[in-house]
């Protein structure tokens, strides 16, 4: 369940993306139908067509919530690892302030770094990854019968959830251990960084493998 569900008490549900008629006297309006034919709407429509599959999905609301939630969890897990890796790899600026320009307090406190760049880039990448992860899930469910789609969604949610937790846990413990090998100028060796990238790469490879296996296994049956 996502934190986005807060304060939803009293709001009408809309399983499978169907329209809910507005209640008389309610502040909740009927779904806004796109008006006109603006360029912005056309761009959105073209860019987001794959995601619209979700609205026609045969998966139950609960199955979809778990499937999407775990896809997002996987993306966030991967995105977090990427963000931290980017901050560690970009890390200190190649040309820090010359020591002669700083006082002793300045040398202790002024550490020019690329961390913010890594952080923001990581956040944006994570949002893109979440879009990709949900799209992958939708692709996996597309064309399946209701029963198979439901089963596939639940399997995907389990796999994604386990991979997300396991890879992030492994990354976290390895990163913690890597603290011992930080150099005096605040850097980590290339091999340490490569090792830290492994949990994420492995999780992604396993997810894709599971996706392929699931598509073949479920898709071949009548």
């Amino acid at each position: 369940m996502s934190p986005a569900s807060m304060a939803e008490e009293g709001s009408p549900t809309r399983p499978h993306g169907g329209a809910v008629p507005a209640r008389p006297g309610s502040a909740w309006a009927a779904p806004t139908r796109p008006k006109g034919n603006t360029a912005v709407r056309r761009v959105f429509a073209a860019a987001l067509r794959p995601l619209r599959l979700d609205r026609d999905s045969l998966v139950s609301r609960q199955g979809r919530a778990w499937g999407t939630g775990s896809a997002l969890a996987f993306a966030v897990s991967l995105g977090l690892q990427l963000t931290v890796l980017a901050m560690l790899a970009l890390g200190p600026l190649a040309e820090p302030f010359a020591a002669s320009t700083l006082t002793a307090m300045g040398q202790k406190n002024m550490r020019p770094e690329n961390d913010l760049l890594g952080f923001y880039a990581g956040c944006v990448t994570t949002v893109a990854l979440s879009w990709a992860a949900v799209r992958l899930l939708e692709a996996r469910l597309a064309g399946l019968t209701a029963l198979r789609a439901e089963r596939a969604a639940r399997r995907a949610s389990r796999v994604q959830g386990v991979l997300a937790a396991a890879s992030l846990g492994l990354f976290s413990s390895w990163a913690q251990a890597a603290g011992a090998s930080v150099t005096a100028d605040g850097r980590l060796s290339g091999s340490t960084l490569a090792r830290l990238a492994l949990p994420g790469i492995l999780a992604l490879a396993l997810l894709l493998a599971d996706h392929v296996v699931a598509r073949r296994g479920l898709g071949s049956a009548p």
């Binding site: 369940m1 996502s2 934190p3 986005a4 569900s5 807060m6 304060a7 939803e8 008490e9 809309r14 502040a27 909740w28 309006a29 779904p31 806004t32 139908r33 987001l48 995601l51 619209r52 979700d54 609205r55 999407t68 997002l72 993306a75 966030v76 897990s77 977090l80 963000t83 931290v84 901050m87 890390g91 200190p92 600026l93 302030f97 320009t101 700083l102 006082t103 002793a104 307090m105 300045g106 202790k108 406190n109 002024m110 550490r111 020019p112 913010l116 760049l117 952080f119 956040c123 949002v127 879009w131 949900v134 992030l168 976290s172 990163a175 913690q176 603290g179 011992a180 930080v182 605040g186």
Partner: protein, 571 residues
């Protein structure tokens, strides 16, 4: 046609509502009793004993004293954190004199109000008293009473660092309350209120104000995308375009008016100088990449805190990603947009952690992350109860209160387990342990800033001597500069105008350029008298101290000793 309400039902409804208000009142009183401390002198003493008010001077007192003496914030005095608090402190000084103890006491009172606001926000968001109360306790346990505060080494409270307190983001709770109300019923008044609060937030605190303004912009964009793609959000009561424009006018109206007042109009006549003194710190940190600690050092020195850091970042990112996907799938709801905005704001607060990667800075994201977690638990309450009911055969109505009860218990346990809470001088601690040791008092005539340890006796004596000396010089109309971190305390207590605003000294003199500028200013425009330490305060600042001392030796002659200080007179 609606059914007429029977008088008995109406009475019962009224009684229920009154009882609800009563319970809310009790819970709010409990929250206030945790934050409020009835010993302002001891609270100020605790802060003084740790850092001689270094952080408060940098945060608000230095700019407040400079503003009080007619200087322009930003242009004449560096006001890194924001412009609003110094002006507000000065505005109320006719009733509550400008002073460190009063400022810390006011901050604590605002902390009480802010946490009441947090309870109201949670109450409005999750519509459950126990969840809101338990959530507020848990957030308190991870921010104001965070165990990290107790790891400082000396007994202290979070109020020692105003930049980690609710003063750093004073408007966030009120802003998100407005946003929530606007999501539920999008009236023009609520949109304008959200804009005005964001503007006020920017005026009071620069960096977190920027995050609020960014959140408001993304909120506006989300509503646009939601409308374009067909998400089902409550229809705006007023036309969206003019409402958005009015919100922007309110935002910039409040912010620009506030900044124009703070700068005494120099924002228009000397924009470059004003911007450098107002937003220079943010630009340094973001554009020039001036951080204070690398992430690698965090791993090396505080590796155990990586998992909590990842959890904080992960919750914020998850909320943002979830909302983005929902918006793009045309499945956004008021709740999802609200949590996305909270997540975005939480990521903004995490920027402060990225700038200075030390564990205690994780507390800065406690409020938005805490609200997101409580919201997720609220959403889980019914499905969880239904699942347990299915397994056990019990009625879900009996099971639904389990989760809120658990949250309250968790909040209470977290509080009781935190050493920072156990040592916090609130009403509960006083009732348990009695009044604290009286200790030394910094100003005996005012009984202010009390409970100081005996080892501070020489420093206290020296400060009193310096204050007496500056008072005497001031009474004779002779200008004096205090070139020491205690300068703001001395200026506040003596009413002497600060020399060149809040000049960087020792602990915050980081570049040789700044040091040379200060030396040049002393040589060129130095006042008749200078108060300076006879020995360097610590080895870490010995180079700055030595450089200033050399300058004094060229232009000034030592007059006499004032405890650990000396008075120097111009040749």
């Amino acid at each position: 046609m609606s059914q007429p309400v029977r008088p008995s039902e109406a009475r019962a409804g009224l009684l229920r509502r009154l009882a609800g208000f009563g319970i809310d009142g009790v819970l709010v009183s409990l929250i206030v009793s945790l934050v409020y401390t009835p010993l302002p002198a001891q609270l100020a003493g605790l802060v003084f004993a740790n850092d001689l008010f270094f952080h408060w001077d940098h945060f608000v007192m230095g700019p407040a004293v400079a503003w009080h003496h007619g200087m322009a914030l930003g242009t004449d005095v560096y006001s890194q954190y924001g412009e609003g608090w110094p002006i507000l402190l000065d505005a109320i000084s006719p009733w509550l004199p400008l002073g460190h103890q009063n400022t810390i006491w006011l901050a604590m009172l605002y902390g009480c109000l802010h946490h009441v606001g947090l309870y109201v926000l949670l109450r409005a968001a999750v519509r459950s008293r126990p969840l809101a109360f338990g959530g507020t306790l848990a957030i308190l346990a991870t921010s104001l009473f965070s165990p990290l505060v107790a790891q400082h080494g000396h007994p202290t409270v979070l109020w020692q660092w105003p930049s980690l307190s609710v003063l750093r983001a004073p408007m966030d709770v009120w802003f998100f309350l407005c946003l929530l109300l606007h999501l539920r019923r999008p009236t023009a008044t609520r949109a304008v209120a959200a804009g005005a609060i964001a503007g006020l937030g920017l005026w009071l605190e620069t960096d977190t104000g920027i995050f609020l303004v960014g959140t408001l912009a993304v909120y506006g964009a989300s509503r646009f995308v939601a409308a374009e793609l067909g998400s089902r959000l409550p229809r705006a009561v007023a036309p969206a375009g003019p409402t958005f424009a009015a919100s922007l006018v309110a935002l910039f109206g409040v912010a620009v008016t506030g900044l124009a007042i703070a700068s005494r109009g120099t924002i228009f006549s000397e924009p470059g100088a004003f911007l450098a003194g107002w937003i220079g710190g943010v630009i340094n940190s973001s554009a020039r990449g001036v951080g204070a600690s690398y992430l690698t050092y965090f791993l090396r020195d505080h590796g155990a805190y990586l998992a909590p850091a990842l959890a904080v970042l992960g919750i914020g990112l998850f909320a943002v990603c979830d909302t983005t996907v929902r918006l793009l799938q045309a499945r956004a709801t008021p709740a999802s947009v609200f949590s996305g905005c909270l997540g975005l704001y939480a990521l903004g607060r995490c920027t402060l952690f990225v700038w200075r990667t030390v564990p205690i800075r994780l507390t800065l994201a406690a409020i938005p992350i805490g609200v997101l977690v409580v919201g997720a638990l609220a959403a889980l309450r019914r499905p969880l109860a239904a699942r347990i009911a299915q397994a056990t055969g019990l009625g879900p109505r009996w099971l639904e209160p389990i989760l809120p009860t658990f949250v309250v218990l968790a909040g209470v346990s977290l509080l009781l387990a935190s050493p920072s809470f156990r040592s916090y001088p609130n009403l509960w601690q006083l009732a348990r342990s009695g009044p604290p040791e009286p200790g030394l008092v910094l100003f005996p005539e005012k009984t202010e800033i009390a409970g100081l340890p005996d080892e501070l006796r020489p420093v206290i004596r020296s400060i009193r001597t310096v204050i007496a000396e500056v008072r005497s010089l001031r009474s004779r109309g002779e200008p004096v500069a205090v070139l020491d971190p205690i300068k703001t305390l001395v200026y506040v207590e003596t009413g002497a105008p600060p020399w060149r605003g809040d000049a960087s000294l020792f602990l915050n003199t980081w570049t040789r350029e700044d040091l040379h500028a200060l030396r040049d200013a002393v040589e060129r425009d130095g006042p008749e008298h200078v108060i300076f330490r006879s020995v360097a305060p610590s080895r870490a600042v010995a180079d700055s101290w030595r450089a200033l001392r050399d300058t004094l030796e060229q232009r000034y002659v030592p007059a006499h000793k004032l405890g650990v200080f000396e008075r120097w007179d111009r040749r």
